[in-house]
Symmetry: D2
Subunit: 269 residues, 4 copies
């Protein structure tokens, strides 16, 4: 950067730093829908590469006219691509320092993959999930909330009970957020959800596997209500989970609308 | 509009009408993603009110710098809210006249509703579909293509054949476009598609209806391949249908991806 | 319905009504993503026809295995198509009665249209907005929250201040929810938001109008922070508004991400 | 896989391989909306990791009842994660061999990143694009079509010409597909598009950069028509480009709809 540019930088007016007189503090201000390549540390202690949609915000006291949007992007770059539960705090603190603010929020939403083994043939395939890592730093408090969005099979108990043959089933989707004493692996949250459905999903199933999966789902019917209750029961039994929110939505195969259920336990925001 | 405004209108430069020298004609130019309330004339000879997402375009000869975007919206307003197969030609001709062009394309995409009767209890409910009406006027030729997007149940024949009990099924979606000698009612296209699936969908089913629907689907398994072939067979047998394109996508209940099939017959564009 | 059907109805097992032993109450259960044609009463005391995406839920005590999903659709049909602030309470009470529950939530989201007059030529056009009407009935309390999603123009004050000519501007989107003593017209909420931006949007502008709109936006630059503060100031000054939540997102013309700001005032949920 | 499983595999009925009698060949059948992590070889000869949404299809002769969906996923796994122009042919041939078919289509759509340097301060940032690589193998012919979806700034020439100050501008989006004699780098297609707009976009701009970008856009106004023509002119001048399709959509800052233009040159499908 040559001298002329530095001079220009110095003399350009800084509208954002002007004083604001409306006396209205802003709860959250920043950038949203920013795509960024990241690497997630997974339970097997290796990293997987993925692409996140990122939201970064801070609070803004009432006397500042505006925040400096470019500093959010700079903080993200300075953080580097590797993201995991333990280093999100550093990004929060960097945002608070660069933006001179009392609170910072970050959200990363990204596809996440697990290798799965088909139940009969043992064929390997990659299943995709959507994961969101949200974290807040406010005064002395840090809050961290992982969310997994897990597609599952649900088979209707009523349809099975009343029909002479078959039972309607469909893809459902569970959105499960937790707060916990200790960091929880994304894989463990996904597995918890999958174990509560009529069946988990796979990307690769050969015919013998399809037979196992079909019969397993038929033998384990769940309403959308059962699904959220099964997950709630499992979460209640996990010592480290302090609170949770679980939503399930069934993309009904016999309707063009969804069945939906929600349970929250010791949950705020 | 007073004199001052008229004067202002006259003296404002008209950049769009300037001469262009790049010698590149534009195939289609206009407006897209315009929401507009419309009324569709249905088979029962009544109109249903809905909201369309509209695209209106014309061609632009190489020597004009730009089209006049506001005229598309004016043509739409002048056409009025009632839309049906027989009056789309008037809109096309109005666009060609107002924009002084040799070709015009219009597309209206909107939710469309049919009242359905549940198969056992006779309970009434409204099922929603997505419909697209596309029309082109080019020189002496007018072309009209209705498309229906129909959600259905598909039950997997392989899963049924290999499993001791149950069979995976799911919501699927068929996109069916036709060209025909005579205008075809949207209702008839939807009914044609629904008759080719494992089951049609309903918004309202009581338990006795759910039993009928479950068993009917189990008794009529279709692969995504069967679904498009059944529809193609039915379309081949309809005298008035000159050509068609049919796509089916199954939102598989055992996978997180879709199964997909396509058949085109005497189809271009 | 003949005798055989009635008998069948009587003897079919009712899985949903069985007793559940997991001791987990469900906060919300019901249907989601149900499309339904509705009519909205607007300020001019006429109704406009549109299509809503509907969510209807109730709570479910811990001892019931499941809710009866078809009753939600029946309650909606029984309510009839006309929806406005004053009759949403009837739908809530109908849901609570039919589902025998202590709380009910309803959400209707739909496109809504306002006729606008272009600022110079007076040309008329229809502008579309997204509106959400949410209502809750819980024990003795009823809560009603209208939300408007309003697209606007925002012109960057910093870009204007530092540049010798021009200023970047873009489409922004404001999501504004309120609680109020008296019902508020959707039109008034939209107008409040539009008056706080660099410019409102129009579907139809002739060249003299485009000149007015361009210069008006240039003369009224707003950051995303200014936009939410202007709206908050206006809402604070309205006597009837008890609390609000206002979000603004700018689809930046110089970035591929958004600028975002949020202010909440006496707001929960 | 033990003996029992192999036996089971042998004796399970293979519905897909049954003979079909409807005499309707299927143009395309396979899997869609499959997420898969891939690595793209870029011009700097390094690879970037991203996540693709994949579609894989083959044709199906009229006498086969169904295809074997799991083989598509197996072919993808066998191909490995690294994807580039030169190895897509291998995947096509693998699909044709595994599915015993005469034609295969593959589509990979994924976010792609370029590092950019801000025009005044030299600050570095990552810009994201959407890229689609499509390839077809049919009899002796292989066809390869890369598509880039490039967000840009467009500033309206008419608004600038008629207004005393300012000019409306917005984010636009160009979708550009080509066929070429030699493989073309994704980076080169993106750069070609960006050079034709009022301004390219950046993820990171400091104030001196924002000044440059604002003034550059004001000095280079383009209609949506100019944008597609500029790109067409550039493509016509590139010796290696045999045909192309270019679409531009402006998310107008003064309207809630888009302006749209399309040019095709020696283009089919």
């Amino acid at each position: 950067m040559d001298l002329l540019k530095i001079q220009s930088l110095t003399t350009l007016s800084d509208t954002q730093s002007e004083r604001d007189h409306r006396r209205i503090a802003i709860d959250r201000v920043g950038v949203r829908n920013l795509r960024y390549p990241i690497q997630i540390l997974d339970k097997a202690n290796s990293t997987q590469s993925t692409v996140a949609t990122v939201q970064l915000t801070v609070d803004l006291p009432h006397h500042f006219k505006g925040t400096h949007m470019s500093r959010f992007v700079e903080a993200l770059h300075a953080h580097g691509p590797v993201l995991h539960v333990r280093n999100m705090g550093a990004l929060l603190r960097s945002l608070r320092a660069r933006l001179d603010s009392d609170a910072a929020h970050v959200d990363f939403e990204f596809p996440f993959f697990l290798e799965k083994t088909a139940p009969s043939t043992g064929a390997k395939g990659l299943m995709d999930y959507l994961v969101r890592l949200s974290a807040v730093s406010q005064r002395d408090r840090e809050d961290f909330v992982p969310t997994v969005v897990v597609p599952v099979t649900t088979l209707c108990p009523c349809s099975k009970a009343i029909s002479d043959r078959g039972a309607h089933n469909q893809r459902g989707q569970v959105t499960f957020s937790v707060r916990s004493e200790q960091p929880i692996w994304i894989e463990d949250l996904i597995r918890l959800v999958e174990s509560c459905a009529s069946s988990e999903l796979f990307s690769l199933l050969k015919r013998p596997d399809e037979k196992v999966v079909t019969e397993h789902a038929y033998d384990n019917p769940v309403f959308v209500e059962d699904l959220v209750r099964n997950i709630a029961s499992r979460a209640n039994a996990e010592h480290g989970i302090l609170g949770y929110r679980v939503e399930a939505e069934n993309f009904e195969s016999i309707h063009n609308h969804s069945a939906y259920a929600l349970v929250e336990h010791r949950w705020a925001g």
